[in-house]
């Protein structure tokens, strides 16, 4: 009889090879204790955290911690139910109002995770007779949402508004509803979407536009409303989806929109309906973190300064860093045989980053994916850069000679 696990044989072989090449499983790292937003204990060693997406450092916010403690004391630690049954407390509606007001939108839906926000919105919006147009480098949650929908799904070339336009025209379906999905900042590469150009295509073709600001919320735009704010095209974006688990340091997802039908989407959105809502302490912490983010715009300034410092350091070392400076900086290596030992060496020397292997990377090359925080000090960034230099040397990863560059 066939084994359910025979399909895992290939994965087992790949994982064994990764472990054999570096000595540990990169996908089973345990942070034994977070000491601050920027330092955690891993394998008993104090390790600089450069791969946590905790852009503003708010996972350790005193204000948010106190709010969570107070909410747990007052309301308990869980809701034990769905948003459409017993899982909506006053705190949930208050947070939705607050998120909607922050984005200057009519309403907001709060989901239990960011993954579920994309899964839920995309599958609820795009039906059988509709078209979904996805950027080729979309996050898994967007692809999974497209599979849960019954829509016809077409990919367009990454960050290429002209290609989107061409593919919409090729459909030759002027009367069909179309939903275009892009991300503000792409999580693997740090690439920033040309949202204004996508908005222009949306307007010309009569499509709807959903922007996933998961990695750009709290990061881009004068007020932190993301890439659409940064490019001045918020009015052309129909739906903004995002997560609390990056810049706000908690967990949960949201969608904001001016479309009044959002109230009906709540009743046709399986990942919203068929799961328990967020517990009171998470809602309260998220609300407090949002207050803190708004009260401290200097966090965004510091984040961008830190991103620029790390990026410039990589360029100076001769590492192949992302072209655009953003809080996600991916160092591209040529081969998996280089990437695995280097990632292990970085961890041994005291820096944690994310190891991304193909096919989870866009161009079949491996990435050492770094994310920067507002709370990193200049000394921590410089130390991380020195460790990158040392690890590259120890692992014979060639550095192109750019030592003279500033």
């Amino acid at each position: 009889m066939a084994s359910l696990f025979s399909k895992y044989e290939g994965l087992a072989g790949s994982l064994s090879a990764v472990v054999a090449a570096g000595g540990r499983n990169p996908f089973a790292v345990v942070i034994e204790k977070p000491l601050s937003s920027t330092v955690g204990v891993i394998e008993g060693r104090e390790t600089l955290l450069f791969g946590t997406n905790n852009y503003l450092g708010l996972s350790q916010s005193e204000h948010a911690i106190k709010a969570a403690q107070a909410a747990a004391a007052a309301c308990g630690v869980g809701t034990t139910g769905s948003r459409i049954a017993n899982g909506t407390q006053s705190l949930h509606r208050q947070l939705e109002r607050k998120i909607a007001d922050f984005f200057r939108r009519r309403d907001a839906m709060v989901f239990s995770t960011g993954y579920q926000a994309n899964l839920g919105m995309i599958s609820a919006l795009a039906g059988k007779d509709d078209y979904l147009l996805l950027d080729a480098d979309s996050h898994a949650s967007i692809y999974d949402g497209s599979r849960l929908s019954a829509a016809q799904v077409i990919r367009f070339r990454h960050n290429d508004p002209d290609d989107l336009y061409k593919r919409i025209k090729r459909l030759d379906a002027p009367d069909a509803a179309k939903l275009v999905v892009v991300e503000g900042i792409y999580s693997m590469t740090g690439n920033v979407a040309p949202v204004a150009e996508f908005a222009a295509v949306k307007k010309e073709t009569g499509a709807y536009l959903l922007v996933d600001e998961a990695h750009s919320f709290g990061v881009l735009g004068e007020h932190g409303r993301g890439s659409a704010e940064a490019e001045g095209v918020e009015a052309d974006v129909d739906f903004i989806v995002g997560t609390f688990s990056k810049s706000l340091g908690t967990v949960g997802g949201y969608c904001v929109s001016d479309h009044p039908e959002l109230e009906l989407v709540r009743l046709n959105c399986r990942p919203y309906m068929f799961t328990a809502s967020l517990p009171p302490e998470v809602i309260a912490a998220t609300s407090a973190a949002l207050d803190e983010m708004q009260a401290h715009p200097e966090l965004r300034t510091r984040l961008m300064e830190n991103a620029a410092r790390l990026h410039a350091g990589f360029v100076r070392l001769g590492l192949n860093a992302s072209q655009r400076v953003s809080p996600v900086i991916a160092v591209t290596l040529e081969t998996v045989e280089q990437a695995i030992p280097m990632w292990n060496r970085l961890l041994e020397l005291g820096v944690y980053v994310n190891l991304s292997l193909p096919p989870a990377t866009p161009d079949s090359r491996p990435l050492l994916r770094c994310s920067v925080m507002a709370t990193h000090t200049a000394a921590q960034i410089d130390q991380a850069l020195e460790i990158f230099r040392q690890a590259a040397e120890d692992c014979n990863v060639p550095l192109s000679a750019k030592e003279t560059a500033v």
Binding site: Q152, V153, S364
Partner: protein, 83 residues
């Protein structure tokens, strides 16, 4: 313009052979993932190229039923005949 499965299959093979990593002895019955060692992303990227070469839209949900090069060719011919 009507296209045959054989004609589209030949064109797909020609496109595949321009990639040096693809085995030289492929034919229409080859399984795209197993025989060509394409991962899911490589398949989607290749289909995008086929869409541009043949000016056709191949929705992602169609890929679930496609295993061989001839399956892809038949799918393209079917989509074009409907267009």
């Amino acid at each position: 313009m009507s296209e045959t499965v054989e004609g589209v299959s030949a064109l797909i093979i020609q496109k595949l052979l321009s990639n040096p990593k693809v085995p030289r002895d492929i034919n229409g019955d080859c399984k795209i993932m197993e025989d060509l060692a394409f991962d899911s992303l490589a398949v989607m990227n290749f289909v995008m190229e086929v869409e541009d070469s043949l000016d056709v839209s191949v929705p992602l949900d169609k890929l679930a039923d496609i295993r061989t090069i001839n399956d892809l060719a038949a799918c393209v011919v079917d989509l074009k005949s409907k267009g």
